[in-house]
Symmetry: C2
Subunit: 147 residues, 2 copies
């Protein structure tokens, strides 16, 4: 079984080098743009009512993967699925960003943490009723050696 | 440009009919299992330290899409990307669930909201530092006519 995904747009950011790219969006104040291809623009209606959106995208510069990786924030090997490492069997990235403005097919966003030119796969609205969990445990992340 | 995604496992749930499936995981107490294929089991190390995980999966029973849809929780047409509707250009679903236990390649989960047999594409740890946003606006969802 396989699923073929095709970009619906591109994410633009100040980051052109993997090494400069922030680790996660809450650590980034960087402003960027989501440019949705014109044929999908009708699907953006009502998006402007949301302060935050979830971007799903392809880690297009990742190649291959290992099932145990050393996270940026730790110095021990961890299981890949306990990390947000970009090299994954299905290289799908997920970032929640602040939506600053929409102009037609362009979304101005804050908190971008992806490489410039990243292929966009999907946009979902961020709804705390669905997306926020309290009373959480965060395993190695909570106990990590590097802050 | 296209990206080929292949399942890394399957999600099992009590839901065998699209019409019975809950709308979103915070509305579901249902227990299910994530069965990761044996070749990926090493990547599950350290996952058991997290109380919540994010599942990315394929909406395998969705066919085609419309750019304006009527959400389950509303009675007006909304832009597809302002909704979590399952029929999307790239039919990737996202659910945050509670991780109850791990036994080898099987994760026992609570709050499952997908059809039984849903193909799993990725697992990411839920980390409030990355995934929680406060001070949010939720557009049509906040102002919806059906609660």
């Amino acid at each position: 079984m396989e699923f073929i995904m095709r970009p619906i747009g591109e994410i633009h950011s100040p980051f052109t080098d993997k090494k400069q790219t922030p680790i996660q969006p809450t650590r980034s104040q960087a402003v960027g743009q989501v440019v949705v291809y014109p044929e999908f623009v009708e699907g953006l209606q009502d998006v402007e009512g949301f302060s935050h959106i979830i971007l799903l995208y392809a880690f297009h510069q990742s190649e291959g993967y290992a099932l145990r990786v050393k996270p940026f924030l730790d110095d021990q090997l961890r299981g890949l699925f306990a990390t947000h490492h970009p090299c994954r069997p299905n290289p799908i990235g997920l970032s929640t960003v602040r939506l600053l403005a929409r102009r037609d097919n362009v979304l101005e966003i804050e908190g971008v943490d992806v490489l410039d030119g990243t292929p966009l796969l999907d946009i979902k609205p961020y709804v705390p009723d669905f997306d926020v969990r309290i009373d959480t445990l965060t395993g190695w992340y909570g106990a990590r050696s590097k802050a």
